[in-house]
Each structure stands twice: as structure tokens, then as C-alpha cells.
């Protein structure tokens, strides 16, 4: 039924093919020796990423075993109270921030190119940068426990415990270290979203994309809205710790509950950000072993998108015992029950697929089945915990510990292990051992249930969470001992999996191609894989091209599809349209570089020096980082191609340069700014939260910032925005002098506007340490000014680009992206002014 172009009817002559593969190999050659670490390919970086997340899993797991040893007997003194508290804080934080989220992003950036038949995702260097940030932040955090300096406030970091009652740098390490890692997570989310929407192979319409892509698309979009509230919250808490602005201190008019809102606004969606990409692996594995297409494709899309939304309506169910009005509990109870519907739908899609198919027994299916058994129980206890009266009992007890491990280990770890056994041949061409896989499964499955099933009862009998010990004779003793034994059996199972992955496989022969007889695109990979990904980029007509498109492998291998060559010796891939994957652009991709590492190191310096309150080195690091990033952008982005168009094969000519909404970079800016805007809105939420809970917010009479300066600021900043938008047009019309003067004027207006914004609270002498009202005004103003400052740098950058001839009327990516940035900045400035100057009038 396809109406798209087909592959070449005859293969190119053999010597042509050989020359093509040589050129492709040259263009995609991996750096060797110590330069290996300058690689930026998503497949290579993805592998480092996965390896590091498993390392952190191991680290968090060892901490868990230490805790289980401590809890094996009542009144045990194996770990001190303080060390235990560090251990559970680091365990939770590591598993969430350094394992569960990153492994989803790692697997996604590693396999997305293959699943999409793309040579590469659009921003390989961004992924490499994200990886280095993650590595640096992760080591910094984990290392702190060896110096007895680790955070000890729980992974949820509730103030005022973490703001006023814990000296030492533990809390700062958590706040700054994780903010740094969250930047990496957002970078990966940008890469994944644009990858999923824009780098699909030609013809892979939105109704044909692999289910994995649907899931990671939703999960990555959720990151954009879930992480910024935590970044905003971390900013407030760190500012309170460092400069005593009393956001969470009731003595200064603050309220500890604001942190809980911001934290759980992140924390609950986060569970689903972990869960969705893991079920996504199941959605790839189940059809392969059922040997038929998935049943209920549309239903799974419903589940993924539905969960993506509903999971943002659950955050307060972590706060049912904080004394909120009953009607609020009711609303969040309702959403918590509703989210179970889409969650259940996908499980039935898998069952239906198995029922309708010819199921093949295999190790990945064994893990998938274990996942189902564990996760369904976790889901059911989740539904129970959402019932408020039951929650009042179960909350903060071992019942919840059991529940969350059933959800996360059943819903994430087991699918990931299934994925390891399934996808491993794609990594080095060799399968993992079936025998070890089965032994490991039964150990892990048994051990898990022995460890965590009794915890339901321990909790219902009244054992609170996060206790370093308990007294004998309260009915906890035997249950805890059983849990400890189970934890070690589980650990033994996981140790075998790790061994299976790292054991030397020199003697083992390569797996045959597509060893599981799967239908999806990633299995076109040769064993072992080539650095170029796909020999030629195929035209897709089906959800399962390897099953349903005749001679598919032959056509790909013989270069009968698109981009079978690298004539100019450059790395290239195809960008396509969002809905129907029409080819739109031939995208040139950057090669190996160390600059991403330098950018991450200096950016890390900003956060790490900040942890120790070394403000000057911290600021210098930030400036160095800024300089490096500008150099990176200047030398490697928005390059003007040597020709306008390129023949990509099959008679298709594609432009080499697009700007504005047609380009990947514009969308990356848009998506990033959505995340920035969400963080800003979280701060605005803080303002109105204080207004709701405090009678004296804003105080009467209002001490500042007045109306004059904020209004002046708004006018100047709107002027700066208008100048930037006009400059974009003047550039397009090639009015060089108008462009230069306009943009220069724009940057002057922006600087003046930023200064006027700061002048408001300054001249009215608002002291941010005195009360939460001035502190909130100052934080909004500071945030906006910072955004303006970046905007000014961007404006000057555009002027320099045009002067240097790197931007022209036609090749205008830079100014178009900067104009987009300024749309968001103008909006931010207007909201800030409306809130700080306008709202006190209304209130």
C-alpha cells in the first residue's frame, strides 16, 4: 500500500559499494588511543553512560546491603546512626538520579539511532557534554560518603532539617551536585525529543514508529516539566543555606511545605519517567518473542501519553499527612486512582500479544515475566496507598518501602535486565549466557520477594521508614532478618548478571544477525556493528520492516536506500518531518572533540567550588565554562555548507542548511526554553504559595519594589525584545546596517532593563534576609536578570557572527534562535513585573 519511493531495483556495482563503505568508514572512524575519550557518537557515549549507571547501581546496591546488615538484628551497632542516615540518603539519591533516570537516557541515546535507522542523533556533542556532567556530578556525590561528608537529609531533603539543622556540606553537595546532573538530564531529554521527532527514517509515519520511541518521547517530555521545579526548589534551598534568605524558615515568614510541593512536583512524575522507558523495553521484547506485531498499538500510545499527563496530578499524595484540607486529598486521590487505568492497559496489551502470538521461551521473556509478577503487585499496593485513610497508616512505613521497591524493581530493574539480555548482541555482537541468565533470574526473583514481601507486614505492624535501628520484641525482628537474607540472595543474582556482562568473551563467536528474529529496525545491525550505524538509510513502510518489507536487509546492506555514501567525507544523516517523516534536510554532524569534556569540567567547577562556598573560583569556573561553550558554538554550529543542496540518493535532493522552525536547533532552543520557563513558573508558584498560606504576604503596607522601576524595566525589555525580532527581519532582508544598529540598541535596552529591574527592590531597600517577601521578590528579579544577561551575550554573539561572515541573510540560524530565546525572555520579564509590581495592588 506504500506510496513512497522504493529502493533501487539493482544494487550498485561491487566496486562502487566497496568505495562507498570505505568513505563511510573514514567519515565515521572512531578515535583511538587516549583520544578514544573524545568520541561523541551517541552509540559510544551511550555505552559509557550505561556502564556508569550500572556502576552506580552497584554502589547504591552495596549501600543497601550495608543497611540491611544493620537492620538484621534489633539494636544493632554495625553502622552508626549518622552513617546509616548517610547511607539511606545516598542509596535513594543514587538509585534515582544516578541509575534509574540516566539509564533510561543512556539506553535511549545508545539505541535511538539504530531504531530510527539514523546515522546519529542531531546533537551528539550535547550528549557527550551531558555524559561528562553526569560522570563528574555522580563521582562527586558518591565520593562524599567516604569522607563522612555525604548528605544525610534523605533523598527528599526536607527543610528545615536540611536548611538549619544540618551543618556541613552534605546538603550542599546534594543540592548543587544534583542540579548539575539535572542539567545533563535535560540535555539528554532535548536530544531524545528531537531525535524521536526529526531523525526518523523517511516514510516512518507517526503511526509506524516503534513503541519504544513513543515511550521515550513521552518520558523525555516529562523531564522538561518535572525537573525544573526541583531545580527551582534546589535554588531556593541553597540560597537559604548559603545566604539565609528564609524561604523555608517559619521564623522569617517562610514555609517548609513549599519545598515538599516543589520536590514532589518533580518526585512523582519522576517515578513514571523511570517506569515508562522500562516498559518501553518490554514493548519491544514482547512482540519479538510472540513473533507477531503488538496487539493494541494505539492503546499503548494512549497509555504512554495518558500516564505522561496524569502523573503530574499525583504529587500531593506524598503529602497526605501534612494537614491539607480533605478536598485536596480527595482530588489527588482521584488522580492517583485514574493513573492506574493506563498503567493496567499496557499490561493487558502485552498479555493480549502473547495470547495471539506463538510465544518463544527465552531469557529476556523470563525477566519480562518476573517484571510483570512483581510490578502488578507494586501497582496494586500503589492503588491502596492512594486511598487516603489507608495512606495515613502506611505512609512513611516499611509498607511504602516494599511498595516502591516492587514498583521500581518490577517496573524498571527487571525490564532493564530483560533489555540487557535482549539487546546485548547489539553492543558487542555477542549474546549473554542463557545459563547464567536463568540462574541469575531465579536468584534475583526469589531474593527480591524474600526481601521485600515481608516488608509490607513490617510496615503494617508499625515500623517507620528511615530508622537506623529498632527495639526488640515489637514484632519486627524475624521479618527484618528474613528481609536481610533476601537482600543478599537478590544481590547474588545481580552479581551474576554483572559478571555475565563483563566476563571476557574473546572465545565466544559472534551472534548471527538478528538473533531473536525481531521485526524492528535496530536488528538490521551487523554483528559486530559498524560505527556508521546503517549502511544506507531505509525507506520505511511498516511497523516491523524486518518482518514485512521484502529483501529489506539486502537493500540496506547493498546501499540501495538513501545516503549510501559519504562523498564529502562528512558525517551526515537525514532530518524528516514530524508527522509523515518526509525527508527535509541532510544534516551534517560534528565529529570527535574534547571540548565537551572541558565544558563539563568547568561547569562542574562552578557547582563543586560553590559547594565549598569558594565563590570566586566558582565564578571563574562559570566564566571559563561560558567561554568554552561560546567557542564550541562558534566553531562547530550553524556552519555554512559548501553547497546549498545535496543528492542523498533515490533521486532526492535535500538542503544542507535550514533555519527557524524547520531546523533541529530551533526546536532544541524551544524545548530548552520550555524547561527554563517551567523553572521560572515554579518560582512564581512559590510567590503565590506564600500568598495563600501567609496573611502577611505581601506585607501591608508593601515595602517594595514599587511600581516605577519595574514598569521602566518592562518597557525597556519589551524594547530589547522588539529590536531583536526586528533585527532577525533586517538580517533576512540583508539590511546589514539596520541589523547591527538594531541589535546593538537591543542589547543596550536589555542591559538598561535588567538594571531597572534590579533597581526596584534596591531603591526600596528590600532586605532578602529579613523576610520571605523581599527574598521572593529578589529571587524573581535575579532569575530574570540572569536570563537577560544570557540574552545580551546572545545578541552580541549574533553581531559578531555576521561580522565574521558566519551568518548571512540566508544562513541565519543564530539570529532566529536568539529571537526565539527573546520571546521567552520577554514573557518572563513581563510576568516578573506583573507579579512583583502588580500583584501587591490586587492583594
Amino acid at each position: 500500500m506504500s506510496i513512497d519511493p522504493g529502493p533501487l531495483t539493482a544494487a550498485p556495482p561491487e566496486e562502487v559499494q566497496r568505495a562507498q563503505t570505505e568513505r563511510l568508514l573514514e567519515a565515521w572512524k572512531q578515535p583511538t588511543g587516549w583520544r578514544y575519550w573524545s568520541a561523541v557518537n551517541n552509540s559510544v557515549v551511550g555505552l559509557w553512560y550505561v556502564a556508569m549507571t550500572f556502576f552506580f547501581l552497584l554502589f547504591g546496591g552495596v549501600l543497601a546491603l550495608l543497611m540491611r546488615l544493620q537492620l538484621a538484628r534489633p539494636n544493632n551497632d554495625f553502622l552508626s546512626a549518622d552513617l546509616y542516615n548517610q547511607a539511606f540518603t545516598v542509596h535513594g539519591s543514587v538509585m534515582m538520579f544516578l541509575f534509574a533516570i540516566p539509564i533510561f537516557e543512556a539506553i535511549a541515546v545508545m539505541f535511538l539511532p539504530q531504531m530510527l535507522g539514523a546515522r546519529e542523533l542531531p546533537f551528539p556533542r550535547l550528549s557527550a557534554f551531558g555524559f561528562w556532567c553526569f560522570l563528574l556530578g555522580g563521582i562527586f556525590l558518591c565520593g562524599s560518603i567516604f569522607f563522612d561528608a555525604a548528605p544525610r537529609g534523605g533523598w527528599f531533603m526536607y527543610p528545615p532539617l536540611t536548611s538549619k539543622y544540618q551543618s556541613g556540606i552534605g546538603a550542599d553537595i546534594w543540592l548543587l551536585g544534583f542540579s548539575f546532573i539535572e542539567i545533563a538530564a535535560i540535555a539528554a531529554a532535548v536530544e531524545i525529543i528531537i531525535g524521536a521527532l526529526k531523525t526518523r527514517p523517511p516514510g516512518m509515519r507517526i503511526n509506524l514508529i516503534p513503541l519504544y520511541i513513543w515511550y521515550v518521547l513521552v518520558a523525555a517530555a516529562m523531564i522538561l516539566f518535572a525537573f525544573p521545579p526541583l531545580i527551582a526548589g534546589s535554588l531556593l534551598l541553597e540560597v537559604e543555606r548559603a545566604f539565609h534568605w528564609p524561604f523555608f524558615d517559619p521564623a522569617g515568614g517562610g514555609d517548609p511545605l513549599l519545598w515538599q510541593h516543589l520536590f514532589w512536583l518533580f518526585g512523582h512524575p519522576e517515578v513514571y519517567i523511570i517506569f515508562l522507558p522500562s516498559v518501553a523495553l518490554m514493548a519491544m521484547i514482547v512482540p519479538t518473542f510472540a513473533q507477531r506485531p503488538i496487539v493494541g498499538y494505539g492503546w499503548i500510545v494512549l497509555a504512554a501519553v495518558g500516564i505522561g499527563f496524569l502523573s503530574f496530578g499525583l504529587w500531593v499524595h506524598h503529602m497526605f499527612t501534612t494537614g491539607l484540607p480533605g478536598i485536596s486529598l480527595g482530588l489527588f486521590s482521584a488522580a492517583s486512582e485514574a493513573v492506574a487505568i493506563p498503567t493496567g492497559v499496557q499490561i493487558f496489551c502485552f498479555i493480549a500479544t502473547l495470547a495471539a502470538g506463538r510465544t518463544v521461551r527465552s531469557v529476556p521473556m523470563l525477566y519480562a515475566f518476573g517484571s510483570l509478577v512483581i510490578f502488578v503487585l507494586g501497582g496494586l499496593t500503589g492503588v491502596m496507598v492512594a486511598v487516603a485513610p489507608f495512606n495515613f497508616q502506611a505512609h512513611d512505613t516499611f509498607f511504602v518501602v516494599a511498595h516502591l521497591h516492587y514498583v521500581l524493581i518490577g517496573g524498571a530493574l527487571f525490564p532493564i535486565l530483560a533489555g540487557c539480555y535482549y539487546f546485548f548482541p547489539l553492543i558487542n555482537g555477542k549474546k549473554l549466557s542463557d545459563k547464567l541468565g536463568k540462574i541469575a533470574f531465579w536468584l534475583a526473583f526469589t531474593g527480591f520477594n524474600v526481601a521485600f514481601l515481608p516488608m509490607h507486614l513490617t510496615g503494617l505492624r508499625g515500623m517507620p521508614r528511615r530508622v537506623f535501628t529498632y527495639q526488640a520484641g515489637l514484632g519486627f525482628d524475624a521479618l527484618n532478618l528474613v528481609s536481610t537474607v533476601g537482600a543478599f540472595i537478590l544481590a547474588a543474582g545481580l552479581a551474576i548478571v554483572f559478571w555475565d556482562m563483563v566476563r571476557p568473551k574473546k572465545k565466544q563467536s559472534y551472534s548471527e544477525r538478528n538473533p531473536w528474529n525481531a521485526g524492528t529496525l535496530e536488528w538490521t545491525q551487523e554483528m559486530p556493528g559498524k560505527p556508521w550505524g546503517m549502511r544506507s538509510i531505509p525507506e520505511i513502510d511498516s511497523r516491523y520492516p524486518l518482518w514485512e518489507q521484502p529483501n529489506f536487509l539486502r537493500d540496506v546492506d547493498e546501499g540501495r536506500f538513501y545516503l549510501a555514501d559519504a562523498e564529502e567525507g562528512k558525517r551526515e544523516s537525514i532530518l524528516t518531518s514530524v508527522i509523515d517523516a518526509r525527508p527535509e534536510q541532510c544534516l551534517r554532524l560534528p565529529g570527535p572533540t574534547f571540548i565537551t569534556l572541558w565544558a563539563a569540567l568547568t561547569m562542574g567547577g562552578f557547582f563543586i567550588f560553590g559547594t565549598f562556598s569558594l565563590w570566586w573560583p566558582s565564578l571563574l569556573s562559570l566564566l571559563a565554562s561560558l567561554a568554552i561553550i561560546i567557542y564550541w558554538l562558534w566553531t562547530e554550529t550553524a556552519l555554512i555548507p559548501e553547497k546549498a543542496e545535496k543528492d542523498v540518493g533515490l533521486g532526492l535532493k535535500l538542503p544542507l542548511y535550514l533555519s527557524g522552525p524547520e531546523s533541529a536547533g530551533w526546536w532544541a532552543m524551544f524545548i530548552t526554553m520550555l524547561a527554563v520557563l517551567t523553572a521560572f513558573i515554579s518560582l512564581v508558584f512559590g510567590y503565590f504559595f506564600f500568598w495563600t498560606v501567609r496573611a502577611d504576604f505581601p506585607p501591608d503596607p508593601v515595602p517594595g519594589p514599587g511600581h516605577f522601576w519595574p514598569l521602566v524595566a518592562a518597557l525597556l525589555l519589551l524594547g530589547a525584545w522588539a529590536q531583536t525580532v526586528l533585527a532577525r527581519r533586517w538580517n533576512r532582508n540583508d539590511h546589514a546596517s539596520a541589523f547591527y544598529t538594531g541589535l546593538l540598541l537591543g542589547s543596550i535596552l536589555a542591559i538598561a532593563g535588567g538594571a531597572a529591574l534590579l533597581a526596584g527592590p534596591w531603591v526600596t531597600e528590600l532586605d532578602p534576609t529579613s523576610h520571605v517577601y523581599p527574598a521572593t521578590v529578589w529571587i524573581l528579579v535575579t532569575w530574570t536578570t540572569f536570563q537577560i544577561l544570557i540574552g545580551v551575550i546572545m545578541q552580541l554573539y549574533c553581531i559578531a557572527r555576521r561580522v565574521a561572515g558566519r551568518m548571512t541573510a540566508r544562513y541565519d540560524i543564530d539570529i532566529r534562535n536568539v529571537a526565539l530565546y527573546w520571546h521567552f525572555t520577554a514573557f518572563t520579564a513581563v510576568v516578573t513585573v506583573a507579579v512583583i509590581a502588580g500583584f501587591p495592588l490586587v492583594a
Binding site: 546512626a81 549518622d82 542516615n85 526536607y158 528545615p160 532539617l161 539543622y165 517559619p250 517562610g254 517548609p256 496487539v295 493494541g296 499527612t321 501534612t322 494537614g323 484540607p325 480533605g326 480527595g330 486521590s333 482521584a334 486512582e337 485514574a338 492506574a340 487505568i341 493496567g344 499496557q346 499490561i347 498479555i351 493480549a352 500479544t353 502473547l354 495470547a355 495471539a356 510465544t359 521473556m365 515475566f369 510483570l372 502488578v376 503487585l377 496494586l380 499496593t381 492503588v383 491502596m384 492512594a386 487516603a388 485513610p389 495512606n391 495515613f392 497508616q393 505512609h395 512513611d396 512505613t397 505492624r461 508499625g462 517507620p464 521508614r465 528511615r466 530508622v467 535501628t469 529498632y470
Partner: protein, 286 residues
């Protein structure tokens, strides 16, 4: 609810095993679609709707305040003990610590607060937990129905010794409760034995009164727990040690070992005899 969850769990697993073993062709694609629509969408929606209604219905009653004139007890969670204030109508409040007595069958309203970090007040046998949040006052109303001694604990992680922040609740007949409250309101009994007298002297001489109050003596500190009738309690150290002279000795001499991170300094440098006298004195404050 638990039973229902277990039934659903077993049903889903059985279905999955059946699907796994089913012969190809025994279920058509159409059947499979009905399975998703019925089993994945319609049945769960019905079950969840019922569960939601079942879960919402009792909330208003659980959150409603105790009737006018009920016993009011203010409890303040502090790192890592409980300040308990009986706010009786006929006289001044009585400030106690780490133990609560309740009359059986009578509604009581707890006013829960905290001066330092977030704690959570929880007596598993009597009701749900409610957080104690600095800057806020939360309420918890309940009516104990059974006579007995129950254990309560802090359920929100509140720092180093969060695990060592418990208390006991004794639910008793109204008459017994009234007698108890009257005794608690009274000032401390003067020490009767020479050892206890030495203990009191040591208590006052070593500055214990700067933090602790013993009503009827010059000791009137408010930082730490009120000790006026500490000897009458079921435990010491917020539910962690038995109320025995030996436990007092351990507590006074090695406070930081008994409760890591505790604000009270250890008094192990005092002569052993002084510590033992203190223990006898305090244990005798019934």
C-alpha cells in the same frame, strides 16, 4: 482491600501464564483486542471507581475536629522527644513529656506542632499519622476504644536519632485517667532517702535545672523534657530505655551513646556515686 488486591494479582498472573502457553491461533487478534478493552480498560475503571468512592467516603469523618469540650492535648515534636501539654479547661495547662494517657471511649484532639524540624505523630494502634510542621499547627482527632498500653513513634525522618523518638500511650478508664492527671499536675515529691536527697542536690548543683523543670524545686528549665514525674513513666529517653535506675545511669553518663546526636551533654565526668544518686532521685519522682 488487601484481599481484593491479592485476587487481582493472582488473576493477572494466571492470565499471563495462560497467554504465554496458549497455542497460536487459539486466540484471534479480535479476541486479543477485546481482552485489552475489557480486562485493561473497562474492568479496572469499574474497580477503581468503586475503590475511589470507598476511599473518599471516610475522609471527612477522619479529618473532622473532636466535638466541643473534648480533651485537648498539644504535642510538640522536638529533636528527639515529645513535649506534651494537657490543656484542661479548669486550670493551667500541665506540661509533661514522652508519655500520653487517654481516657477510654472519649474523643481527644491533638494539636501537633514543632519548633525545629518536621516530625510526624503516629500511634499505629489508635489512628493515622499527622505531621508536625514548624510554623503550622495540625490537628488529629481520635477516640480510643480499647484499654491498654500502645506504642507511638515519629514517622517522619527528623535527623540523626529519628529511630529513637518513641513514646507510650496508656488508655485507661476515665477515673484512673483523672487520678493520673491530678497526680501529674501536682509538684514533685521531695526526696525521702539520703541517696535521693544527694541526687536532688547533684541535680541542682550541676545545672540540670537550666534545661529541665522539676516543679516544686528551683529547677525550671524549659529546653528539655519536664522531669517532675519522670519516675512515673513507662520508659525514659522517649521510649527507648526502661524506667530503671540502671537505665538512668546509662542515660546520664553516656547520653550520646543512648541517643546519637542528642542535645543533652553526657555527664559521665560526674563522680559515679553522684550519677547513681541522680538515678535514684529521678526514678523516685513518681
Amino acid at each position: 482491600m488487601t484481599g481484593g488486591a491479592i485476587v487481582i494479582w493472582i488473576a493477572v498472573i494466571a492470565l499471563a501464564i495462560h497467554a504465554f502457553r496458549a497455542r497460536p491461533g487459539s486466540h484471534s487478534g479480535r479476541h486479543a483486542n477485546y481482552l485489552i478493552l475489557g480486562g485493561g480498560a473497562i474492568v479496572p475503571t469499574i474497580v477503581l471507581t468503586a475503590l475511589l468512592i470507598y476511599g473518599l467516603a471516610p475522609i471527612p469523618a477522619l479529618l473532622a475536629p473532636a466535638p466541643e469540650g473534648s480533651l485537648k492535648i498539644a504535642v510538640s515534636g522536638e529533636q528527639w522527644w515529645w513535649r506534651v501539654r494537657y490543656e484542661t479547661s479548669d486550670a493551667d495547662a500541665v506540661v509533661l513529656a514522652n508519655e500520653i494517657h487517654l481516657p477510654v471511649g472519649e474523643p481527644v484532639e491533638f494539636r501537633l506542632e514543632s519548633p525545629d524540624v518536621i516530625h510526624s505523630f503516629w500511634i499505629p494502634a489508635l489512628g493515622g499519622k499527622v505531621d508536625m510542621i514548624p510554623g503550622r499547627v495540625n490537628r488529629l482527632s481520635l477516640t480510643p476504644t480499647k484499654i491498654g498500653v500502645f506504642r507511638g513513634a515519629c514517622a517522619e525522618y527528623c535527623g540523626t536519632s529519628h529511630a529513637l523518638m518513641s513514646f507510650y500511650v496508656r488508655v485507661e478508664e476515665k477515673a484512673a485517667f483523672d487520678r493520673w492527671l491530678m497526680r501529674q499536675r501536682a509538684t514533685a515529691l521531695p526526696p525521702s532517702t539520703p541517696l535521693a536527697k544527694r541526687g536532688q542536690a547533684s541535680f541542682l548543683a550541676n545545672g540540670c535545672g537550666a534545661c529541665h523543670a522539676i516543679r516544686g524545686t528551683p529547677a525550671d528549665g524549659v529546653v528539655g523534657p519536664d522531669l517532675t514525674h519522670v519516675g512515673s513513666r513507662l520508659s525514659i529517653g522517649a521510649g527507648i530505655l526502661p524506667n530503671k535506675p540502671k537505665a538512668f545511669v546509662h542515660w546520664i553518663a553516656r547520653t550520646d551513646q543512648a541517643k546519637p546526636g542528642v542535645l543533652m551533654p553526657a555527664f559521665g565526668m560526674l563522680p559515679k556515686a553522684d550519677i547513681e544518686a541522680l538515678a535514684v532521685y529521678l526514678e523516685g519522682l513518681r
